[in-house]
Amino acid sequence: MSWAVSSISRIKHLLRRVRNADRTEADLDAEIQSYFDAVIERLISRGLTREEARRVARLEFEGPDRVKEKVREARTGAGIYSILCDIRYALRLLKKSPGFAAIAVLSLALGIGASTAVFSLMDVLLIRPLPVPYPDRLALISVELNQAAYPIRYSISYPLYQQIEARNAVFSGTFAWFSGMVQTPEGDNMLLVPAVYGSGEYFQTLGVAAAAGKTFGPADDRPNGGANGPVAVISDRLWERRYARDPATVGRAITINGVAVTIIGVMPRGFFGAEVGTVPDVWLPLNLARQLGDNARCFDTPSCWFIHVMGRLRPGVSATRAEADLRVISGPSMEATLIPGMRADSKGVYLTQTIRSESGRSGFANLRSRVKDPLKVSMALVTLVMLISCANIANLLSARASARSREVAVRLAIGAGRGRVVRQFLTESLVLAAAGAVGGLLFSFWATRFLADILSTADSPIRLDLNPDWRVLLFTTAAAIASGVLFGIGPSLRGTRQGLAEALKERVRHGQVGHGSLGFGKTLLGVQVALSVVLLAAAGLFAGTLIRLLTLNPGFDPDHLTVISIVNSRPPVQGLAAIHLFTRLADRARAIPGVEAATQLSTTPLSNGGWSGSVGIPGRPDLSEDQRSADINAIGAQFTKTMGVPLLAGRDFDAGDTDQSEKVVLISENAAHRWFPNGDAVGAQIYMGGPGPEDRRRVVGIVGDSKYMNLREETPLTVYVPGTQSNQSGYIAIRTKLPVAATYAAFRRILREEAPGMPIGTIKTMRQQVDESLATERLTAYLSLFIGVLALLLTAVGLYGILAYTVARRTGEIGIRMALGAQQPSVIWLVVREAMGHTAAGMAAGVAAVLATSRAVRSLLFDVQPNDPATIAAAVGILMLICLLAAALPARRASKLDPMEALREE
């Protein structure tokens, strides 16, 4: 108790002292002074003269300064106190040079902010563990084709999952799931709600229980329906939004895809399952998907890769053992799931697949494989810009340290240890770094959301919890401390190295010092310039990639084109009814005022998906399988006009192409060349789907080539079939200058009338689709551009600082030159030459670094070589230009010197 009271009292004293450091010191001064005065008075009263009394006092007792120092040391938290004093002193110094402080803090904040933003994305997508018990014991299961060129597949077939579940001996439980949108009516509207279909062990294996009610289990996940009929578990969010947290929700029915499903539980807030980036509102037993019509036909098809699988390791089983076990069961599992009627070569490939596992700690993220490399490259880039930032501040600090050399010399002379002075300098750096970290966190808050928004597209929306967790805060703190020490240690060691005599001998006039520190600054500047070249080249390569992709002619005209996706009802409209529905929708879309043309599509271009097949060409047995395989799109009338694809020969589809008329196709120009090199494509026949007479289709036209899956692919051979002859439509494309909202409103009305209860999936312009298809490219390009510009500015500031300093230092020399007749241009040249001298070596080193490292990013580039000379030249050119600009001001100042004035100063 008394200890606590006295502790509080001591802390109060400490704080009061820090706040009133000056007053405390003055008080101590006065007190000690009065003591010695009294001692001297007494000695005088004993008959000594004042002089003698002083001498005796000095000899008898410790000196007043020593006593004061002892008092200071005796106080509580002497260490903390002196650190706080250092901080206070540092703040006071920084306040005195707000320009320097602003530049330092701003550049740090931008650097730390950018790296924190990148790290936040890495954290949330790659690092952060799932919010479930013992996430380290989870394993993510995938299939690898033993050929390097194929990516690992994180989706597998249901039959294969059943094999893994039955054969493995290493998991205490495995579960499978797929996510998608389900339909549920709300008022007049049919809503699309994000859902997860999970196998019976889903919740049990994850280890998460319901917050209210219960979760479903194996008994609910049966091919023929669960023991208790169709059941669902809903999210806390849906419970709140739709049911106002009514406890009676559990037990009620919710209509999903037209089927009444019983709600048996509500999950805890924040639970999202095993897939990072998704926020499901409904969980349904996997096998219920058969009944609800989602991937229904996939369950018994070994060629349908649609589910993700995870397992929980049995106690005592290591990840390595699990991996080995899965390898062992791979062969028999593949054997047991062979696709009937598979050709011999495909069968061979299928059988060589290996089941593998990796840590499932961070769950599964669809985005992961795509963003891993861009994020790593971005991290490398932000690290480099942080180094530039540090070099810059080190240079500025170094100049300040030089300016303070006299102060430092005096401090050292009156007995401060060098360590103590270095600590003061470092404190100043860390104060800067801390301010930079705070600014950086604020900036990253915005930047992280900006980057995450780029990655989230209308087709696959990604919802990430972007609030910084302890990892992010730790990262930011570490980055700040590391940079603070990095830019602080050099200048502080150098600043305290100088001997006293040397420092005092030197003419110290507004920051002039010896040559040594300039050499240090030049080296740092060289490093900055070299890193800037690297960052600018990276920005050039990534921005170049993005621009090339954006300006690439996709073969169709993406402007003024809006695409609406229509999600079929559950149960779906099928067969002729579907064909007629889409024909009518396209017809009525054409009648919307302001619409130039409209057509139906089975695939939106650039959506990374689609339909492909093998085509038979009569009389061309020489064509390999590869040369006959084509991407397929089912389209309606006005296709060429709507998409802006040129019709090169023959005719478009029209109202005459019905399910009753002759089966016809349009083919792309490259397909026509490949299959009919004699130019007799139009009128010829091809086979699609099989060799029978019913598979024969007549080519009625040739259209321009266009991209199909994405912009990066080689333009594929494409075959177009009429939607009326294929029943595959899903989109209505509309060429119009109307704003999206107007098109949406008009089309919604039409859809309501034609198919009440059918939801509109997404509506977006083709430009949006292009942008979204380039999400990772945009991420990398924007980041690298931002970083490049930052590097450029920092380097310019750094160079300006050094030049301004040298011009000031050479005032006398320049004055003499001018007095001897040097003209303005030659003085300017003097400064510019100095600038080039400082930067040339850095530029050369930078170019060498680019040449040595740029190959690492080859896979992220498009249509540009990693060593693209134009890009490197542009990087160097821009940097030179900026350097000249940075040199302009000091050069001007030098050329405007009045020789007499300059010499007088000398």
Partner: protein
């Protein structure tokens, strides 16, 4: 200066508190008084006195205020706080216990 006895840790604090028990004193007064009472056994120099005083002030056991002396000089006068008085009582008891115990040990050995 002569340092006849090494002060036990905390002994100086006790001496100061005891010195201030009956009246407030300034630094020189405290040093004089201790020297006088101990008949010169303890001579307290400023290098020990002031750190101890400030430590005690921090703990809230004494407090110092600036006053004008009869001589016209200003000096910081220290006095006991209520907490200091309580502490002194406790310390005195402790000291007696320790002193008795040590004395006993010495007697037995002797």
């Amino acid at each position: 200066m002569s340092r006849p006895t090494d002060l036990l840790q905390g002994t100086l604090d006790l001496l100061i508190l005891r010195t201030l028990e009956f009246r407030p004193l300034h630094g020189v007064g405290i040093a004089d008084r201790i020297e006088q009472v101990t008949k010169g056994a303890f001579q307290v120099g400023p290098g020990s006195l002031f750190p101890a005083l400030h430590r005690l002030a921090e703990k809230g056991l004494v407090e110092g205020t600036w006053r004008e002396l009869n001589s016209g000089r200003r000096a910081k006068i220290y006095s006991l706080t209520p907490a200091g008085r309580k502490q002194l009582t406790q310390e005195k008891q402790n000291w007696r216990r320790v002193a008795t115990a040590v004395a006993q040990v010495l007697t037995e050995e002797g």
